[in-house]
């Protein structure tokens, strides 16, 4: 034997799974939604996504190399995902400097200041988005409408999101019946012909990617299914009570980033619970908070806040919802 022999403890084999592959699976899953955004928003989608991705990678590189002086890990795919997801959560046509600020907050504050990949409590992309939303509410709610696709950003006509239209309309005393003419049809929302953030457009495209993640076992079905079910059940109850004051569950599921948040951000491995039991609690929590914010809060859309709020509970959930230990608390079997 020419090469030295390796002595290490068992196990001596390893599954082919690596965290890099996991990360790039997420990137692959986001491709359909990205293609839809390119179709709908044209160049501006490309610009927004590129700026977000490049600035996320660059900030991670600069901070790790010059401030933290640790190993640079930009190739692990996680900053890439943060960049894409941040872009997906922003309206097309957002000023470039705001995108850069959002990336800095996402990578610098939400991720690296907590200790980098695996140590962040909050989903970095969402922290970036929410930071921008509360800092620049006007720009963050100017949605270029779908009809104006492929135009120069500055000239784009802006309109509100379906949930925004509903919220505003209801505040001014309109009913769901009169509002229904103003919001896109369910089919349009499914396909992505509506107003909203870059990546939340097409429910179908996002579902395809989500399904891919479940099939590839990157995520388990627990969080998405239970979260969407919670939103559906809660909004159904309100809708059944008063269908003039509350939008139907289909609108709630298909709009406001529910699908994007459910499949790509609530399921973020780092910031979601480790056990299936914990995931169930986590998903129900997000569902309830989302609906409460949407129906009674100041914002028309609430899933970003809901996810961040529940992210804060994850350490607690992990502590109290542990897997059942084998052989614990069993009744002695007397034969």
């Amino acid at each position: 034997m020419a090469d030295p022999i390796i002595i290490s403890a068992s196990p001596h084999i390893h599954s082919a799974r690596t965290s890099k592959k996991v990360m790039y699976d997420v990137v692959i899953a986001l491709i359909p939604a990205f293609l839809v955004s390119l179709y709908v928003f044209g160049y501006s989608a490309m610009i927004l996504t590129s700026i977000a991705v490049i600035s996320c990678l660059l900030f991670e590189f600069l901070i790790q190399k010059y401030i933290l002086k640790t190993k640079v890990t930009i190739s692990d795919g996680s900053a890439l995902i943060t960049g894409i997801l941040l872009a997906f959560n922003l309206p097309a046509g957002l000023p470039i400097w705001m995108i850069i600020v959002g990336s800095l907050v996402a990578i610098g504050v939400a991720k690296l200041s907590f200790g980098g990949l695996g140590f962040n409590i909050f989903n970095p992309a969402l922290v970036g988005r929410v930071f921008l939303l509360v800092s620049f509410p006007v720009q963050m709610t100017m949605w270029p409408t779908a009809v104006e696709n492929n135009t120069v950003i500055a000239d784009a006509v802006t309109g509100a999101t379906p949930l925004g239209i509903i919220k505003e309309g209801l505040q001014f005393g309109e009913t769901m019946t009169s509002l229904s003419a103003k919001i896109p049809s369910n089919m349009d929302m499914l396909l992505g012909i509506t107003g909203g953030s870059l990546g939340e457009m097409s429910a179908i495209a996002l579902l395809i990617g989500g399904l891919y993640l479940i099939i590839r076992k990157v995520i388990s079905w627990h969080i998405p299914v239970i979260l969407l079910a919670t939103i559906a059940i809660m909004t159904s109850i309100f809708w059944l009570v008063n269908s003039e004051q509350f939008a139907n569950p289909i609108i709630h599921i298909l709009s406001g980033g529910a699908i994007l948040g459910t499949f790509y951000m609530a399921t973020d491995l780092v910031t979601s619970p480790m056990t299936k039991k914990g995931m169930v609690i986590f998903a129900i929590g997000i569902g309830i908070i989302t609906v409460v914010i949407r129906l009674f809060g100041a914002y028309p859309e609430g899933i970003s806040f809901a996810i961040l709020i529940m992210n804060a509970f994850v350490p607690l959930i992990n502590k109290y919802f542990k897997p059942r230990r084998f052989g614990s608390k069993i009744k002695a079997k007397i034969v």
Binding site: D3, A9, S10, H12, R325
Partner: protein, 442 residues
């Protein structure tokens, strides 16, 4: 639905390259190295001296306590040395070196033990034979078998489970034995049932060994008390606690033994050894070993004398292939990497696995991405990522409270970790510290 344990587990590539290879007899080695610590418990006490002539099956080291075992000479020959040699643990251990007598015919006789079905001994004699024959658990744990059988009067054991699972990838020793010695194994089971007054026995076999399931079902046809259970292929099904749960749905309590839920588990290899010990008074001096690896030319299964240097086995299958980076005593999930091939086969050696570069090197550990895979696959319901963190930070008390001691070291967590974190390495380390702390406390 095939039976299996409910929580955790993995399914690595089976790689049972040698499953169709009949067990061949290894040529008698020129020299055997017989360590005196081949079992769990107190090492045996050497009772021979340099230059002593020994016969096949003669006791050369005797049991030195309740949890200990006799060790017999696997060959007829002369004791040349009492030496310290490196064994599979990587440490130097006391060992009896015996040079085979090339002229002694008993060394070269093909063992011939026709099937003997009648059980003529009573309980006490059976136990005595098992104790004297130095039989230990051949599944790998090497726990002296007589200890498991020495039941106090207040025992409630009502079911004997035979472990024919062989869930480790690559290994096929038990598989071949079940195929080739099905009738003997059934008699062995009957012997134990007779000795322990048990009326029910179940042989658990993973469903990737359909031929063995068929063979044992056929052999057990006449005895309604013995059943064969086909199990889903899932590692670590062969772990005692998981096997009991899979077959009979009883759960061994934390820190308890199978006996606490009325079960005794024995490996099929052990059962065959018991058969030979009781029916033919033959001590445990050889066992089946799978010698395998993806690049091994003539990978196969062998009857090997205890004490045979692993070198001899590797040469028998065509030598160590180019690019070999690791040699493992046992299976890939729980076996031990050995330093060189001078190490001898012991009672616990179920396989020799030769691993090449691509499989041998570990990935570089990365940050935990908290994916929860390790929690999902842990068959004991533990949180490996947490136990590793606690050990890393030296918070042993909390690790103990998080049940670190119940870890069965199956390695499923390290296997799946996408960040290649050495979870089990840390958990083992943590366990050893917690054990020391517990001893200090008492």
């Amino acid at each position: 639905m095939l039976k299996t344990f409910p929580k955790g587990g993995i399914h690595p590539a089976e790689n049972k390259i040698t499953s169709s290879k009949e067990i061949k007899r290894m040529p008698i080695p020129k020299v055997v190295y017989v360590p005196i610590a081949q079992h769990i418990g107190i090492p045996s006490e050497i009772i021979v001296d340099r230059k002593d002539k020994v016969e096949i099956g003669q006791v050369v080291a005797k049991s030195s306590g309740f949890v200990s075992s006799n060790i017999h000479s696997p060959v007829a020959g002369t004791v040349t040395k009492l030496d310290m040699i490196v064994d599979t643990s990587g440490y130097k251990k006391q060992c009896i070196v015996i040079r085979t007598d090339q002229k002694n015919e008993s060394n070269f006789e093909e063992p011939n033990f026709p099937l003997k079905k009648e059980i003529s001994m009573d309980q006490k004699d059976i136990l005595k034979h098992i104790t004297d024959s130095g039989i230990v658990g051949l599944g790998g744990a090497t726990f002296p078998s007589h200890v498991k059988l020495d039941l106090k009067n207040d025992n409630h054991v009502d079911c004997l489970i035979i472990n024919g699972v062989e869930c480790e990838p690559y290994l096929t020793a038990d598989h071949r034995l079940m195929l080739e010695k099905a009738d003997e194994i059934i008699v062995g089971i009957q012997i134990l049932m007779h000795a322990l007054h048990i009326q029910e026995a179940v042989i658990g076999i993973e469903n990737n060994k359909k031929d063995a399931i068929k063979a044992l079902k056929k052999a057990a046809q006449s005895d309604k008390r013995i059943k064969v259970a086909a199990l889903q292929v899932k590692y670590p099904q062969g772990s005692e606690k998981q096997l009991i749960k899979a077959i009979i749905k009883r759960e061994v309590p934390k820190g308890g033994l199978p006996m606490d839920v009325g079960i005794i588990v024995h490996n099929v290899g052990t059962i065959f050894a018991i058969y030979q010990a009781v029916q033919y008074d033959r001590p445990l001096i050889e066992r089946v070993v799978t010698v395998t690896g993806k690049k091994i030319e003539n990978a196969s299964n062998f009857w090997v004398k205890i004490g045979t240097p692993i070198k001899d086995l590797v040469n028998e299958v065509g030598g160590i292939p180019e690019g070999t980076r690791k040699i493992v005593n046992g299976g890939p999930m729980m076996g031990k990497a050995i330093k060189n091939t001078d190490v001898p086969v012991t009672k616990g050696t179920s396989g020799i696995l030769v691993i090449s570069e691509d499989e041998a090197s570990r990935g570089e550990p990365k940050n935990c991405i908290r994916c929860g895979e390790c929690v999902d696959v842990c068959p004991m319901g533990l949180e490996p990522h947490l136990l590793m963190n606690l050990t890393e930070k030296g918070i042993y008390e909390t690790a103990a409270n998080e049940d670190i001691m119940t870890c069965i070291e199956c390695g499923s967590c390290s296997y799946v970790c996408p960040s290649h974190r050495p979870l089990l390495d840390y958990i083992r380390f943590g366990k050893s510290i917690v054990k020391k702390l517990n001893t200090a406390k008492n």
